[in-house]
């Protein structure tokens, strides 16, 4: 019994320890839902607190961008209905900067709120950019497309510049309505050459009606010349495929050895077998014959002599490999000719001064 109780206490303690993580994981979306219900019930103070709590959650449990926009819209409406106009404007402005394309639901929010948000949106010129993360283009013939989305109609200038701020190319200057496609054809201001490898940025500057800079969007780029996937070069012919081009020494030596060894044996053996006897010199006739036969056998193998058939076979293999290698090299050169790779980084939004 005591053991069972101890187990229950331990289990509860473990659940309590695990609970905060699970609660926070659910809390951001759940708190947003509670805040939305409180707003609907006109419990505005409660709604404001819940919505701020939902927006304050960071990290993996934070609200998704779409829910964050909804939470900001509910919070702006709540503050407006609480007659906290400045707070409502700040929240609405924060929403415009985060998501210029956001439009409040006309069935959820009253006209007063919609009009208020529309006013803030029009007074907050800002753009966001969408571009492929990694691409390659042929300068002059193709272009990098960057789509800009604007919060409201306003004037913008778009330039390509170095990290240090030097303008490489003017991309656009003029008005933007809902959206605008920027195209960079990969060339610098001269229009004839692509910029060298390095880090660059597309800078989109939003201007107000007095042509003052109200927002700067920097979209970092990394440009690499000729960065394209290439075909692998074929390896040279394997040694196992190549035939020996010269007659090896081995067979010749193998033929020489029996003759030479037997010849030496005839010279030496009498002193081993019949020590103390003067062996006949006539034995050298036989020993010499053996040695000469061995030398003749060695020469008959033509050691070191070229083997034309094998040379031709190997040459054909090597030529085929060289042709294939040259073909791959030319294909790779064709692929890489004038191509530049562009890697797009995360955009950064700067506000030099409050509008």
């Amino acid at each position: 019994m005591t053991h069972a109780r101890s187990f229950l206490v331990l289990l509860v303690a473990l659940l309590l320890l695990a609970a905060p993580g699970a609660a926070s994981a659910q809390s951001a979306a759940a708190v947003l839902a509670q805040g939305a219900r409180a707003y609907d019930d006109l419990e505005l103070d409660n709604a404001a607190g819940l919505l701020r709590r939902a927006l304050a959650v960071q990290g993996a449990d934070a609200l998704a961008p779409r829910d964050a926009s909804r939470a900001l819209m509910y919070l702006a409406a709540t503050e407006l209905l609480r007659e906290h106009a400045d707070s409502a404007r700040a929240v609405a402005r924060r929403l415009v900067l985060a998501d210029p394309r956001f439009r409040p639901d006309e069935l959820v929010f009253p006209p007063q709120v919609l009009t208020f948000y529309e006013g803030v949106r029009r007074a907050t010129p800002v753009v966001i950019a969408r571009a492929p993360a990694d691409t390659a283009i042929r300068p002059g013939a193709e272009a990098l497309a960057v789509r800009l989305y604007a919060s409201t109609f306003h004037e913008v200038t778009a330039t390509l510049g170095t990290e240090a701020g030097r303008v490489v190319r003017m991309l656009y200057a003029g008005p933007i309505g809902d959206s605008l496609d920027l195209h960079w054809n990969g060339l610098d201001s001269s229009g004839t050459a692509s910029p060298p490898n390095g880090r660059y940025a597309i800078t989109v500057t939003s201007l107000d009606r007095q042509r003052r800079i109200v927002r700067i969007l920097r979209l970092p780029l990394e440009v690499t010349q000729g960065r394209v996937d290439t075909l692998p070069h074929p390896g040279p012919p394997a040694d196992s495929l190549l035939l020996p081009e010269r007659q090896p020494m081995g067979p010749g030596l193998k033929a020489l050895a029996p003759g030479a060894l037997a010849g030496v044996a005839i010279a030496v053996l009498p002193s081993v077998v019949a020590n103390g006897e003067d062996a006949s010199a006539a034995r050298f006739v036989v020993g010499g014959s053996l040695t000469i036969a061995g030398i003749a056998a060695f020469v008959s193998h033509h050691p070191g002599k070229s083997i034309p058939a094998n040379v031709a076979h190997n040459r054909a293999l090597r030529d085929a490999w060289r042709r294939e290698d040259a073909l791959v090299a030319s294909r790779n050169a064709e692929r890489a000719r004038g191509m530049i790779g562009i890697r797009v980084g995360a955009p950064v939004l700067l506000t030099p001064e409050a509008p």
């Binding site: 029996p258 037997a262 077998v273 006739v285 036989v286 020993g287 003749a296 008959s300």
Partner: protein, 208 residues
Amino acid sequence: MRRALLLIFLGFASTAQAQSRWNVSFGVGGGSEIARSRSDTTRERVSGLVLGGEAVATRGKFVTRLRYGQGRVTNDTAGRDVAEGEALLGYNARPWLTVWFGPHARTFVVPGQSDRRWLQWSGRVTARGTLFPERVESFVELWQGITGSLNRPAESASGGGAEAGLVLRLARHPVWGRLAYRIEQERGATRRETVEAITLTVGFVPLR
């Protein structure tokens, strides 16, 4: 001892018979032979021509070899007839290596005296090497007496020897030739005899 060796010899022979068909080779030849004889009191050097023949039969890995030769060796003051022979059973342990076992004997006949005969039971090893495939090969053969005897004076004997040379075969003809140098020494308690020979043998292979 001799009976045991004979039994081993017959055992090998019966095993050989169980193998596949026989290949037989015959040869005849002759050569110059020099014999040096030493005893406690005398030294003698005689030389002459010895003619002989041989037969080699092969079945599977087993080989038998019979050789016989006779001739006359002389010097300025004396002369002797000489007869020698061997009967060996061999086993081809490797394509290039044969081990042999069997007796061989050499008898010197001096008119008016009893024969002097050396008998050795020996073990031999023959190694061959190819110079030109199927045409020319060299060989070296070494032997060592295991047990032996001399009949006059009656005493036990030991000995050893070597032979090396060149074997040639004609293309598309069952004929072969051999040029060889041989040296053997047999030793008794009171006598030592050394025989050198340079032989030329021509043979044929009728059943190949």
